[in-house]
Assembly symmetry: C2
Amino acid sequence: MGQWAQALLGFPIAEPSDPVPLDAIDLPASRVAPPGTLDGLCSASKRDRVLHSYGRSYPDILRGFSGEYPRPPDLVARPRTEDDVAALLDWCGDAGFACVPFGGGTSVVSGVEAPEHPRGVVTMNLRGLDRVLEVDDVSRAARIQGGALGPVLNAQLADHGFELRCFPQSYKFSTLGGWIVTRAGGHYATVRTHVDDLVESVRMITPSGPFESRRLPGSGAGPSPDRMVLGSEGTLGIVTEAWMRVVRPPRFRASATVFFDAWDQAVAGLRAVSQAGLAPANCRLLDATEARINAVSARPTHTLLLGFESDDHPLDVWIARAVELAVAEGGVCPKGPRVRDSRADSGAAGSWRDAFFEGPYLRDVLISCGVIVDTFETACTWDRFPELDRLVRARVGAAMEELCGGGTMSCRVTHVYPDGPAPYYTFLAPASDGGALERWRAIKAEASDALIEAGGTITHHHAVGRMHRDHAHRQWPSAWPGVIQAVKDQLDPRGILNPGVLVPARSADR
Amino acid sequence: MGQWAQALLGFPIAEPSDPVPLDAIDLPASRVAPPGTLDGLCSASKRDRVLHSYGRSYPDILRGFSGEYPRPPDLVARPRTEDDVAALLDWCGDAGFACVPFGGGTSVVSGVEAPEHPRGVVTMNLRGLDRVLEVDDVSRAARIQGGALGPVLNAQLADHGFELRCFPQSYKFSTLGGWIVTRAGGHYATVRTHVDDLVESVRMITPSGPFESRRLPGSGAGPSPDRMVLGSEGTLGIVTEAWMRVVRPPRFRASATVFFDAWDQAVAGLRAVSQAGLAPANCRLLDATEARINAVSARPTHTLLLGFESDDHPLDVWIARAVELAVAEGGVCPKGPRVRDSRADSGAAGSWRDAFFEGPYLRDVLISCGVIVDTFETACTWDRFPELDRLVRARVGAAMEELCGGGTMSCRVTHVYPDGPAPYYTFLAPASDGGALERWRAIKAEASDALIEAGGTITHHHAVGRMHRDHAHRQWPSAWPGVIQAVKDQLDPRGILNPGVLVPARSADR
């Protein structure tokens, strides 16, 4: 591990260390005792409070590793039914506690940690709500509870011959409700890039009561209620169920790997494919560093992974045209397109898939070796991308150089649109000599400022949470935070839900 | 005309009558005089007030025809710049007048008429803002003013080799801003069914100031501000510009016409195509009556029109598979698919296009012949469609029989989704013996009730306005009207904009 990583990263790293054991962690005493009626759903155990203190951001992992838990939730509640959810919200509201909804806990934006609060914080773990309740074969839709992890819900859908094809990188460890409220990005690189378009209707329990939209394939009846739930990040209510659009698992697949010597040619090839209306499921560009780290390519070149999938028709024509477009911009596709009629997957796309899902967890090991490692992502229009890419690399590179004496940075484009790409950056820098958190904070600030200044979004699919809040406010219409607060005042009038996420907590809510 | 129509409709109709001439119309006196600074933008002429009194719904046409104008706007303002828009809003707010934004005036849901108001109503005609301001060739996007009619904006885009491919049936007479705030349905039958997905960013002038979203191809930074503007129907602000996703005009086209003897087979064929992931641009099913009226088919059969379009690649494979799927459900395609590499269009799809754009205006003539003629549309999931279709036809048919002694009803499906269709119904009934408006109202109420009771939406793309407001409230999450009002209170705190649309006007706003 150590030698491999050092060779890849180009700087020395420390041996992995072990996290501070649970026994050695000090927690402040819980301030909250549940009423008898809810006692059976609640735990104030040290283990539960520790495991619900953080998400999975770099500072989360770092603090968790070093045993710093100054502000755990006072209580962890595990509702088993929707009525439990409502009862817990009522209790929190009456008692003046904050409530933090918690799905898989994979937030990387400080979206699930307990906020500072004068009375107490109850974290609601929703994983008990994990059933597929109903499947509509004709409309290809399924009613699924919000607390189901990706593999848990797909195992149930498989019994009906369906699949929810939405594979965020956190897929194995995150929940449907979490995907919906954070507008998670799935594996589709085009068209259905976010979970948004897979939502047919949603049911959310708010402190003011149930909020349920009608099952509709499409509508034009005023502003869409679903679109206010999407991205609400646990500040308006708790998504207990949703009708989701499901599909038959793909039978036909086609894929190709195209290499480019020059980055601008690779971007041009990516753009050509994204504007051709072919709608590939996979259309990911890895820069040379990214391709090397993920072992997709041994060649020192930028790599475009193309893939199509269908349960209905062979995809020879689609992949042939996509490759043709990429090659016309200077790419080479030595092996040509590969077409399959089966459910097996192999080759570069397979290596990439493995690397993709393992990426976040490999990161944890690197952190224990004293490496600052983090990712951030954005989207911008094509006309702005060259300058955004340049600025982000320059600013983050300069910060790593100044603060850490160097570092490595890579880029992949995970999703594309006819009008622009969604690039995803990874940076790694040595920090085994201490001060990692402060260095990370300074590098992250440079990255976030650069994204906003260059015309990007502060997040394409990682969400806002508390971490990106100020930058989101710089990007939104100036009136938008006030609108969100007004909506929150309607649905969560006592301000108990996830205070500080999206908009600042009001002092009256604390 | 008369004989042709009678033969098609199956009931006798009167000779067309002429509308009451302008001279013979009585209007109440205007209650509003503009300040000197705005005088040059404003008109209180009889002609202007009459022409801005109504949209294009059945009751609008009927009342207009008979010279009934009891509540015209007091003043018509024509801003030439965004500053004019802001100045007019400020003035209305200060003086306590209501302001009704008016694009092309094609609303069929009472979205542009002057509401009852104690002080006065200023209708703001936005057609002076009709320029394409900027074109981004690389990202394929254009910044377009909100008051541009479809042909006006596309003529300007053509100079840059681009096209905004969004063709609502009102295309020639409606504006971009109107499409955005009503979530207009374009000609794409699948995927980009509404204008929603063509909006990259919007700029709206609200009574509280500009509301401008960032140009982004995609984002996950909280609830989307654009999605609150989409469907706001002039109640939150006035869309002065938007960055829209444009395309190269299609070079390749492929089309086919498939006939079905049985309606349930036709629906099965439609569903099969919609769930195959082929994304046809045209995928419209006309029932036998509709096909006959629109002269698409001389055969007494249900007709599925399929079409693909691309600026990038030939579409032989796409259309072949779509036809195969439809034929597998019992359809026949006697002429087979037609594939073209040119910009010309012909055949049934051409006849259909002509009939499509002329439909609303043919209607006006029929109304003058004493015929009740109206359309309504919805969307529902596939599992519910057979019962919705049955219920709607039964309820509307019974009402026409009881009130008019008979009538004709037809259905086309204009848009489709993997999880359901968007059917569009036309009904015609004789009423030359008087009482047309009351009869229409009773038939429309039956239709609207049936849609809601059967699990549909009150509108797929005609919008809510004042006409569908109560039914929209039955379909929305119960908290949604309160949320919309709370958003309105933020952006339009004095409640001057389009009172009564989406949510009831509050007495404090009048």
